[in-house]
Symmetry: C2
Subunit: 96 residues, 2 copies
DNA sequence: ATTATTATTCTAGAATTATCGAAATAAAGT
DNA sequence: ACTTTATTTCGATAATTCTAGAATAATAAT
């Protein structure tokens, strides 16, 4: 993971609403959650929710799969793992 | 760590310049780095650098210690560990 | 075809953040 | 006291992001 990509992902997670969405999806496991279920939990306008979801999708932290009329969101765990690796790697290599 | 605090920290890390600063400090170990050394590496105006450093300080991700005229910056590793715990905990607890 | 449901895209105003020059502050040396 | 060095604070402008109402799109049911 390069630094630009890492910064983008961190930035998207760095908003309370989006972090809540992401946490819901991490807890939900592979089945993920319907957009409508997320909206029920957060109680925010659909357009606002959609905006935040699309930002998370754009940086690859979550994906969406359509099932008829409903859209299901899924956390992409690997992306988070890569991000954490990026943040922690080479810790203290330059220490005296 | 509560969600507001986690989101703030993630947001501050979600900027390329600040992430670079933070990565330098993680690599540097406990001795940290002087502000002037960071500036040498990044080649940005002092006022801009100071702005970014102070944001990282404000959320507790780094600290500063004065040694006469120079200021030394240090990564606060525990804060990062707490952040990572927050992001990964309860993974898949609601999975079917 | 019409309607209902689910969700996104468009648009715009409000709020926040980024950048950087200039001025100010802090500490040390002359 | 004055100068130099290291760094921050102030102030202004530019750019981005947030929020949410209105309009649109996609799918399914009647």
């Amino acid at each position: 993971m390069n630094i630009e990509s890492a910064a983008k992902k961190l930035s998207e997670l760095g908003h309370v609403t989006r972090l809540e969405i992401y946490r819901f999806l991490v807890k939900a496991g592979d089945d993920g959650m319907m957009v409508s279920s997320i909206q029920e939990k957060l109680e925010i306008p659909g357009s606002t929710l959609s905006h935040h979801i699309s930002r998370l999708v754009n940086v690859g932290l979550i994906t969406q799969t359509r099932e008829g009329r409903i859209l299901r969101c899924h956390a992409q765990y690997e992306q988070l793992d890569d991000l954490i690796d990026f943040l922690t790697k080479e810790c203290c290599v330059g220490a005296s």
